[in-house]
């Protein structure tokens, strides 16, 4: 009976680890090279398996020797053929050439840093001096034996290929190698020194226990790691043991296809509105002022209709004529209230202004067209309409935004029904049963109300605006029953749910950020 920790480790052993454990045999300490031979693993796989076993403390490092091996670097190979720069310079001077440092740098096959290095070294030894005109002059009798020794060593290394350092008999050569390995600053070194680590490993007591258990189990590293069609086909999987995985490791994430979190949020809202009996309406991004404002009894001089508040279309500037009887009815109701029991806004209505094209500034334009198009009575309608508002784009204003709004038409609808509908929205859309109704103002509704809800995290917040359409709105469009107009502002809630503070992040073009956003279910 194995101790539980041995058993657990045993189950999780990789086949490579199994082979290494078995390769130790009875020997207390084994060199890496020997292990390579016994296990039949190549160096990299052996080192991988040993690494795992070291982490598990099944093996330990018994002994580590580092062998330093010298060979010629690229510069050394060149000097083997052409002499080191110092000796070359001395030879040129010896044959009486007149040379300056600049001459050496040009066309002598020497790199600038080789020139400065060699000239500096020779000057340091007193083997040359620089006379008038920067001309180099050899100083007879200086000791330049070091460079001849270096040249010999380079030749020897070229012939031998490499040499193990550390032998006392070649201590002088080792010194030279060290000197010219490091020296010459950034210049290419003459020699290369490679360190070869030779380790001996031993099994720890845990490793011994594991090795014994592995041997006893007879699993000679032949666990199946991957189930394959072949194994299934011939039934070879029978009697095989499948290696157990460490399923606690966290994998990297994949980026699959998914809906945009804000669109998903709107989808949820859409579903809830449909489930409450609302029918979807759609409209045009571009509207004329008539449907965007006039039909909603917003006077043509209303501040929200100015050049600073609405985007106008450059070309075409206006729509076709407004259909009758709406054109006449709406003009009359603005001018004199005629047909709606009102005194109207009392100003001259400009029918040409009504045809000006604007970017839809409010979703209510869609409702206006629905009312003029023989809506169902009773009827409930909604739209999630992209609207454009004349505002600087900042943390709370996007250039265009989704407005969720709609209408409810029916006999017997009252202010109390309106409040009931709003409370239903609070519960069904925002899951916030605690509500407050505050007086509000919209030019097209009377009475008007703002819906405030107590959000569990945001506290009291405005969720929507609503009201009963004024008779000046409904009657000119041929609607004779009371109509509730409502709009919901869900962006703040959505941003909260998505953990976003800046509305620009809601529509960020950065894919990394979009991928990182979680799928959030509306409250």
């Amino acid at each position: 009976m194995l101790a539980p920790e041995i058993s657990a480790l045993l189950d999780g052993l990789h086949p490579l680890e199994v082979r290494v454990l078995l390769a130790f045999g009875e020997v207390p300490s084994v060199a890496e090279a020997a292990l390579r031979e016994t296990s039949g693993l190549d160096a990299s796989r052996l080192s991988m398996a040993l690494g795992w076993l070291l982490t598990k403390e099944a093996v330990r490092i018994e002994r580590e020797t580092v062998t330093r091996r010298a060979s010629l670097a690229e510069a050394g190979e060149r000097y083997a053929a052409e002499l080191v720069p110092e000796l070359r310079i001395l030879e040129w001077l010896a044959v009486g050439e007149r040379l300056t440092v600049a001459d050496l740098r040009a066309g002598r096959g020497l790199e600038p840093d080789e020139v400065s290095g060699a000239v500096g070294a020779l000057k340091g030894l007193g083997a040359i001096r620089i006379v008038e005109g920067g001309v180099l002059e050899a100083v007879p009798g200086a000791d330049v034996a070091e460079f001849h020794a270096l040249q010999r060593l380079i030749g020897a290394l070229r012939d031998a290929g490499s040499r193990v350092m550390g032998d006392p008999s070649t201590a002088d050569d080792d010194r030279l190698i060290e000197q010219f390995f490091k020296k010459r600053g950034k210049a290419k070194g003459i020699f290369r020194i490679d360190e070869e680590k030779d380790r001996s490993y031993a099994l720890t007591p845990l490793g011994e226990a594991l090795a014994q258990a592995v041997a006893a189990k007879g699993a000679v590293g032949e666990e199946v790691s991957q189930l394959t069609p072949d194994l299934l086909k011939d039934g070879a999987w029978r009697g095989k043991v499948f290696r157990k995985y460490n399923i606690g490791l966290r994998p990297s994430r994949v980026f699959g296809g998914k809906k945009h979190p804000y669109r998903a949020f709107l989808d949820e809202v859409k579903t809830r509105l449909v489930s409450m009996g609302f029918e979807e309406m759609r409209g045009s991004l571009i509207e004329n002022e008539f449907w965007n404002m006039d039909a909603l009894y917003m006077p043509q001089f209303h501040p929200a209709r100015e050049i600073h508040d609405v985007y106008f279309v450059r070309e075409p500037r206006e729509s076709r004529p407004i259909p009758e009887p709406f054109a006449t009815n709406v003009a009359q109701v603005h001018e004199s209230g005629k047909g709606a029991g009102s005194v109207g806004w009392r100003y001259p209505f400009d029918p040409s202004r009504a045809r000006l094209l604007v970017l839809r500034s409010q979703g209510t334009a869609v409702s206006a067209r629905t009312m003029a198009g023989r809506p169902k009575i009773p009827g409930k309608y909604f739209s999630i309409a992209r609207c454009f508002r004349y505002d600087q784009v900042d943390a709370t204003h996007a250039p265009d935004f989704f407005q969720i709004e709609g209408i409810v038409l029916g006999e017997g609808i009252t202010f109390r029904t309106l409040l009931g509908l709003l409370r239903l929205f609070a519960v069904e859309v925002a899951r916030a049963p605690e509500v407050k109704f505050l007086p509000a103002y919209f030019p097209y509704t009377e009475p008007s109300v703002e819906l405030h809800v107590k959000h569990p995290k945001l506290g009291w917040m405005e969720l929507g605006g609503a009201g009963l359409f004024r008779p000046e709105v409904t009657l000119p469009l041929g609607v004779t029953v009371p109509v509730i107009a409502w709009g919901l502002g869900l962006d703040r809630m959505a941003m909260m749910a998505l953990g976003i503070r800046d509305i620009r992040d809601l529509f960020t073009p950065d894919l990394e950020q979009i991928r990182a956003q979680r799928a959030v279910v509306a409250p």
Binding site: G257, K259, H260, R263, D267, V274, S275, G277, F278, E279, E280, S284, L285, I286, N288, F301, I307, F312, V313, E315, P316, S319, R320, A340, V343, R346, L357, Q362, T364, P378, K380, R386, D391, V393, A398, D400, G410, T417, L419, G420, L424, F437, L438, P439, A440, Y441, P443, E446, P447, E450, E462, G465, L468, R470, P471, I484, P509, D510, L511, I514
Partner: protein
């Protein structure tokens, strides 16, 4: 006059267009849910309490503010300042501390609602209006205020009311502008007349030298701000006194000499000019009510026009424009869902400032002179609901049965979104308002765009056209996402718009589907396979017709054709296009319209 107004409006537009994008500032004030600018006023709490007649806690204030559709935004204890946002853009009488306090005071103590004093038979203070103003800025109203005592605290309130009424109610002084003057410097009668721009000069507020009217319009900060109002006018309005001294150049600026109100002034002339007679009258009434609430005596001024206005040739101001409205009790019950006894309705409406008489089941309601917003009995019904308190109404569930549904287009679009997400594409949402540069030049297009819906008055060139397809939106995503792990597969299903004379209202809104793939070996075949899979799942028979297209590599682009309609394009983005976007990765994409696929 109508002709004049239209001219003025188009002049203003032309002016705004002319001065260019960066000068276009939105009106001050926050927007409500539907985009209306709401005035915010600042007041001292102790001033507010003095006007209400008792001390008021912040909680009490917040509880009372629904009466004025107001919201307390801030109270700064150190300065005693309150900031209150007013929701009702049609109740200018509430855009002052006096107006707010008045509405609350009425509800608490039901004093007698204000009615305008009887106009005395003889009024000494006269303003003569010359005929040449008819086409420029025809109307003026005024009142004389005595015993006001302008203090350090009051002066900012006067300026605030002036600003709110002229900027918001008067639409940047276009329809209404206001001047205040220390009375003792003026000699009645006054003349409201005109002058050629170079013929009159005076020292305007804010500078220390005399300027001609033309110089004021061209150089003075206020002149530059409001010049658009007088664009196209050959003569400018001028208010002068009996001696010929200039009081002001309406609607631009007052005289430094006659028109600078200072702390310590006790008697004032309040003057309102404008293009709309009722609005001018209402503004005078609001001033009269506000300053009367502060204990001042209001004396009328008579205006003598050279022509017959809708209110006659001789108009005394302040002038009560109120008109009784009949409100049947049945309407109250029908709208509010609660039947109120007429006596109860009367009590509530009186506490809201109306004068009410009951005859049978009908209420005769006369609004106070500082209000001109009652157009229909329904407006009185709302006042009734506010006076009673919205909390007093028991919400009732709408009981009628309706069947909910999504449009066929929305359902189709949702199906496409599901399929594209299933094919491994990440959904994105981009703004519809974008720049011409992005949808045109950056997509390799040259020349003048056809069918592009361009904004005439953009706030910035970055948001100046509606996207005609989703191509540029997808490219923008890729351009911003070089750090995201590749491969990239993104899609959008969303609206785009093009000019279409056959469509109502002259442009067509399309729902389009677009997808983009970007990675080191992205190629036509890959995006084509996705289009193929999408079309197959949708049961769509399509074909590709090779086209030369400046966005794509030649020979690697095609039109997506269904039946005989070209719905969109597919292709490998040309390297020069990638370069203008700063994209260093091959991109392939498609984009096509969904609308024609519905119900076919």
């Amino acid at each position: 006059m109508n002709g004049h107004l239209r001219r003025c409006q188009s002049a203003l537009r032309a002016h705004v267009r002319h001065v260019g994008v960066r000068h276009v500032e939105p009106l001050p004030g926050a927007q409500d849910l539907l985009g209306f600018r709401m005035p915010t006023i600042t007041a001292l709490k102790r001033d507010f309490e003095a006007l209400v007649g008792r001390s008021v806690t912040l909680d009490e204030l917040e509880a009372a503010l629904p009466l004025v559709k107001g919201e307390l935004k801030e109270h700064v204890p150190a300065t005693d300042e309150l900031r209150i946002e007013l929701n009702d853009t049609n109740r200018p009488d509430l855009w002052s501390v006096e107006g707010i306090a008045r509405q609350i005071r009425l509800a608490e103590r039901s004093p007698k609602p204000l009615r305008a004093a009887k106009t005395p038979a003889r009024i000494d203070s006269r303003i003569r209006v010359t005929d040449d103003l008819r086409e420029i800025r025809p109307y003026i109203g005024a009142c004389i205020v005595r015993g006001l005592g302008v203090t350090d605290a009051l002066l900012p309130q006067l300026i605030q009311t002036q600003e709110k009424l002229a900027e918001l109610f008067g639409r940047r002084r276009q329809t209404v502008s206001i001047g205040l003057y220390p009375l003792q410097k003026i000699v009645f009668p006054l003349t409201y007349t005109t002058s050629a721009p170079d013929e009159a000069s005076f020292v305007p507020l804010g500078v220390d030298r005399a300027m001609t009217l033309r110089e004021i319009v061209a150089e003075h900060p206020k002149g530059k701000t409001y010049a658009g109002i007088l664009a196209g006018c050959a003569r400018y309005p001028l208010l002068v006194d009996q001696r010929g001294e200039i009081l002001s150049f309406p609607p631009i600026i007052n005289s430094q000499v006659l028109g600078a109100v200072a702390v310590g002034d006790d008697e004032l002339l309040v003057e309102v000019t404008g293009t709309e007679l009722r609005m001018v009258m209402l503004a005078v009434n609001i001033w009269a009510a506000n300053l009367a609430d502060r204990g001042a005596r209001i004396d009328p001024v008579v205006v003598e026009y050279a022509w017959t206005t809708p209110m006659g040739r001789r108009v005394a101001t302040p002038r009560d424009l109120s008109r009784a409205v009949s409100v049947p009790s049945g309407l109250v019950a029908q709208v509010l869902g609660d039947a109120l006894r007429p006596a109860e309705s009367k009590r509530l409406l009186t506490s809201y400032g109306h004068r009410v008489t009951v005859s049978g089941s009908t209420l005769k309601v006369t609004p106070p002179p500082y209000r001109d917003d009652i157009m229909h009995p329904i407006d009185v019904v709302e006042d009734l609901a506010i006076a009673r308190g919205y909390a007093s109404f028991v919400p009732e569930m709408p009981s009628q049965f309706t069947v909910g549904s999504l449009s066929a287009l929305e359902r189709y679009a949702d199906r496409v979104r599901e399929l594209l997400a299933g094919l491994g594409f990440q959904e994105v949402v981009s703004s519809i308002l974008t720049s011409r540069h992005e949808v045109w030049e950056r997509m390799g297009r040259r020349g003048d765009p056809e069918g592009l819906v361009e904004v005439d008055n953009p706030m910035s060139e970055s948001f100046a056209v509606l996207r005609p397809t989703l191509l540029a939106s997808l490219m923008r995503i890729e351009a911003a996402s070089s750090k995201a792990v590749y491969p990239h597969k993104v899609f959008e299903v969303g609206e785009a718009a093009v000019v279409d004379p056959a469509a109502d209202p002259g442009c067509r809104t399309e729902v389009r589907a677009g997808a983009l793939i970007a990675h080191p070996t992205a190629a036509f075949s890959e995006i084509h396979a996705d289009l193929e899979s999408l079309a197959y799942a949708l049961g769509l028979t399509y074909r590709l017709e090779p086209i030369p297209h400046p966005t794509f590599i030649e020979g690697r682009a095609g039109t997506i054709v269904v039946g005989d309609r070209a719905l969109g394009v597919i292709g490998e983005v040309a390297p020069q296009v990638l370069e203008t976007w700063g994209i260093g990765m091959p991109c392939v994409l498609f984009d096509f319209e969904l609308d024609p696929l519905i119900g076919g």
